[in-house]
């Protein structure tokens, strides 16, 4: 168990990490047009300062011994009633630290890039406001010291994601995509909510320390339940099967958003959640297995979808799904995998951000066309983009010495450590990665130009290319740096635990096999899309391709199973409400009115009939008296 240190020194600024971008967001969103001019710069500035604070904290943290790297800051009591006591409290440990760095540093780069990318958008100020909001929420997510506060960040990033996906909401597709993302995420949120409730009912607390401290006392059934519910939450946020359908649509958002939120940071929150909850998954084997299964399924789904899409961003989105599948799978492996899940998360965050920004740069030069079939031969037109994109591609394919190689190889190794089948599957998925990334690079930068009329590809401005270059440098060296210099295993070990198992296959053999398969996939991609002519209109393709173009029928399934029945139910209830419940209400009013009309003729106006009813009344009275007496 780690020692929890009071947040002193630079760590007393923990709250500021969140408050800065939050304040930025507030100023940008509430100030109105007055801040149009300098607003975007303010947005960049807050995140930049955050990054500096984060680096400073990292340095300070490294100065402490491994056991003294958890810092906690309690602001005030947030929610309390009965035995519920939740504090507005932040905690920084090694795991959060790497996330904070990823978020702030990559965030800064993407903010800077956006200055160029969004320069012509009239709602630029709002865009940076949303981005700041996102950064604040994401930092809250990773800095919370309890699940409920994490939930706030969790939904906060969801909100930012919703806002940014539907940023160009004048496009109905964008608006619909945002809504879809939010609602599917809400399904995941149900999981998180319920997980928190089970925790509270079981442990009487939702704080990380309290929950993890008493897992040993809880039954495995309970822990499995919590684990599965957390998995549902993670699936929602990280676009894992079966809640994967939103991520592809989310590409409707501006490309920097796709880079920051839907590649580097937010979508990896699920991995964070699982890793953070390692104490639970370690004690719930079934839940961990489920995590692996979900990871594997998504890894393939994403890869297959990525291989079939012609839209460069959707293809990248498929790849993101697939890579997160790797991470989730690794996290499901337990102590052998947590560290590498995070490792891959970090490297992926950098290279995928680079790839997305690269894609954005390409689109920027191609009048925002995303169809790769209308690209081609762009390597000369946009040199920097080309170079950085290729570095990213090599990194994600896992070619040494690029950073992706180290992290992905670690996962494959860890997979073999726990289950050979999973290991084999990870290698196959790696081969598919080779194929679709090569396909993407080939269609975009190689082959013949298939540009639309009037398109004049050009390199993007410096404000965009410099972040690309920085990210490319990261994609190249980060793996080595983290593994050998940063010692990621030892760094995270106090939080996540770490163990290494011996496997039958020697290390070098595994790497060789993997590389051969990846290269084979890449070669196939090259032959298909660089050597041959790429048709402007996609050929029909085989059943798998067609299915993949339909996102493997994710939407269709959702529609048939959930959306349509909901609308039918809704329509039925509207009818039921009007005809039956309200019908009863109005009917009873009508009943008395009708009764009244029915009775009125008895008031006939004839004296004799009145007299008759009086006689009847007298008889009634006497009869009543007699009856009472008789009874």
């Amino acid at each position: 168990m780690q020692e929890v240190m009071p947040a002193t020194g630079v760590f007393s600024l923990l709250w500021l990490l969140i408050a800065l971008p939050l304040a930025g967001a507030a100023i940008l969103l509430f100030s109105g047009r007055k801040t149009n001019k300098w607003g975007p710069y303010l947005g960049v500035f807050t995140v930049f300062v955050d990054a500096i604070i984060a680096i400073w904290m990292l340095i300070a943290m490294m100065g402490n011994s491994a056991e003294q790297r958890t810092f906690s800051q309690n602001e005030f009591s947030w929610m309390f009633a009965g035995n519920l006591k939740v504090d507005m409290a932040f905690q920084l440990d090694q795991l959060s630290m790497v996330f904070v760095l990823l978020i702030t540093v990559v965030g800064t780069l993407i903010h800077i890039y956006s200055l160029g990318y969004m320069s012509h958008d009239p709602d630029k100020r709002k865009f940076f406001g949303y981005l700041n909001l996102f950064v604040a929420a994401m930092l809250l997510l990773v800095l919370a010291n309890n699940y409920l506060l994490l939930y706030v960040g969790w939904e906060g990033v969801g909100l930012a994601s919703f806002l940014l996906i539907s940023f160009w909401q004048i496009k109905p597709t964008a608006a619909a995509a945002g809504k879809k993302a939010f609602i599917i995420n809400r399904v995941g949120d149900v999981g998180l909510s319920l997980a928190i409730m089970v925790m509270f009912v079981t442990f009487g607390s939702v704080g990380f320390d309290e929950v993890f401290g008493s897992t040993s006392q809880a039954s495995e059934g309970t822990l499995t339940a919590i684990g599965l519910l957390l998995l549902l939450a993670a699936a929602g946020k990280s676009a894992q099967f079966p809640l994967q359908a939103w991520l592809l649509d989310a590409m409707e958002g501006p490309t920097p958003v796709s880079a920051l939120i839907h590649a580097a940071t937010m979508v990896t929150a699920g991995v964070y959640l699982i890793t953070r909850s390692n104490a639970i998954f370690d004690a719930a084997a079934w839940a961990a297995t489920a995590v692996v299964v979900v990871g594997v399924i998504t890894m393939f789904m994403g890869a297959i979808i990525g291989s079939a899409k012609d839209d460069i961003k959707k293809s990248l989105a498929g790849s993101t799904m697939s890579q997160i599948g790797y991470m989730v799978l690794a996290a499901g492996l337990g102590p052998v995998g947590y560290v590498f899940a995070i490792f891959h998360l970090l490297t992926h965050g950098v290279f995928k951000a680079g790839l997305f920004l690269g894609a954005g740069s390409v689109m920027h030069g191609m009048n925002d066309n995303v169809n790769m079939r209308r690209y081609g031969a762009l390597r000369t037109a946009m040199m920097v983009t080309y170079a950085t994109f290729i570095i990213g591609t090599l990194s994600i394919m896992g070619i040494p010495p690029f950073s992706g190689f180290w992290s992905k190889d670690s996962i494959i190794h860890a997979a073999f450590e726990s289950n050979t089948l999973v290991g084999i599957l990870t290698i196959i998925a790696a081969a598919i990665t080779g194929f679709y990334m090569t396909r993407m690079a080939a269609m975009t930068f190689f082959g013949k130009a298939r540009w639309e009329d009037g398109v004049h590809p050009h390199e993007s401005p410096k404000v965009m290319t410099i972040p690309l270059i920085i990210l490319a440098i990261g994609s190249t060296f980060m793996g080595i740096a983290l593994l050998f210099w940063g010692n990621i295993e030892t760094w995270l070990e106090p939080v996540t635990g770490f163990e290494e198992k011996h496997i039958a296959i020697p290390e070098w053999a595994l790497i060789t096999i993997t590389l051969i398969l990846v290269l084979a996939g890449a070669a196939y991609g090259w032959i298909q899309y660089a050597r041959r002519e790429v048709p402007l209109v996609a050929p029909r393709g085989n059943w798998l391709t067609r299915a993949a173009r339909q996102d493997l029928y994710g939407d269709a399934v959702n529609n048939t199973l959930v959306v349509q029945p909901s609308f039918w139910l809704s329509r039925f209830l509207v009818w039921f409400d009007g005809s039956w419940i309200d019908g009863f209400v109005n009917g009873s009013a009508a009943f008395f009115g009708g009764l009244s009309a029915r009775l009125r003729p008895y008031q006939s106006g004839f004296i004799r009939s009145y007299a008759l009813s009086m006689v009847g009344g007298a008889v009634l009275v006497v009869l009543a008296l007699v009856l009472v007496r008789l009874s």
Partner: protein, 523 residues
Amino acid sequence: MNAVATVVHAVDVTPWEMPTLDYRLLAPVLIVLGAGVVSVLFEAFLPRGVRRPVQLTLVFVTLIAALVAVINLNGVRETAGQGALAIDGPGLILQGAVVVIAILGALLMAERGLDPNGDAFAARASSLPGSEDERQFTARGYFQTEIWAFFLFAVGGMMLFPIANDLLMMFVALEVMSLPLYLLAGMARRRRLLSQEAALKYFVLGAFASAFFLYGAALLYGFSGSISFGEIAASLGSKTGETALILIAIGLVVAGVLFKIGAAPFHQWVPDVYQGAPTPVTGFMAAAVKIAAFGALLRLLYVALGGMRWDWTPMLWVISILTMFVGAILALTQSDIKRMIAYSSIAQAGFILLGVVAVSAKGLEGAIFYLIAYAFTTIGVFAIISMVRDENGEATHLSKWAGLGRQSPVIATLFTIFMLALTGIPLTSGFIGKFAVFSAAYASGDKWLVIAAVVASLIAAFFYMRVVVLMFFTEPNEETAIVAIPSIFTTIALAAAATVTVLLGVVPQPLLDLIANAGVFIR
């Protein structure tokens, strides 16, 4: 001759004492009845021109004097007139209420500012409707001032009714109260055919009901050997046998009084008479007759028949429920406001019966409070009805009330207050009244009756609020009636009615105290 002789012989002549009359105890009634006689004399001997001011002075002085006399009797609790009259707390309160309501009623009847041709009464009731005579009389500005004599006699009868302590006095009071009202009902200035029809119906049915009452009284007398309530009660408690006779007797007597309060199924005269009678008379009648008749019913049931409560409470249950529902349901579809209020008064009678059924001090208090609250509200309602007019006189069709709130917000607001009171919304007298009788009934174990009353209140709320909807939620159109500006008479009556309606809702305690201190009926 022979028969009389035998009776005299049978009675066994005892030294005969001169009956004494305590005039102080009878003062209220005597003042009013005496004034009635004077009024007749005025009518006979005064020149036409001065009759009205003189009569009005007489009426108001009389009523105020009677009120003073009633107040003067505060705390008295004894019988008078050889036991024929019971001067006790409840009796005095009811008498006082009758007098106060009579003052308000007189104010309404004295109003001449609303109709361009004068007051609400026909210039000559004897003239044929629509005849040349009638036009002549109207043109000459004739007024009937006999109404004041009728009025005073009716008031006298009403004051006598709740303190009548034997069957004969009750019958006489009933008739003294009713006969002038039959006539007053037929004297409307406008829509005279309706008015005459109302008088005829009221008269025939009233006489019919009186006959029931009287025959029942005869049977009761036959059973108990006395017409005095106290002795009837005593013999009902001691004698056995002749069950059928006594039940029929009770049935007939009660039926006779139920007719006067307008309980179903003796209610059918109510809508017709209320609609046809001149509006001030309707208001007076609706308010005061109810007080008097309920007072009589309460005394009859509690004092004379109290020992048989287990026999008649279930019967009154049925009557009460029937009355509430018949009134409330039939009012739903009425299009004439007077007729609607008439049905409402039937429903209200059903609610008051809850207090009667309770057969407890609480029930008595509740019923009396309800009666007073209801009477004031009713006077106010009819005061406003008499003010809402079009070129043909009062605009009683509901459609003409549409948008009245826009045209005369004050009047419409007052009417709304009355409607809320009749609905039983808190902060009005009606709510306290409902509460009082409901809680009395509940405390006596009549839970289901309370539930029934609650349901009936709901139905009733619908038509009361319909008027509010019409007045306030509808735009005025060319059909909409106008509110005539009344003279000081109606204004005072209306103001008093509204004030009491609100006051009794907000600070009911003084009146409740008064009623509670009055205690129960003397036996």
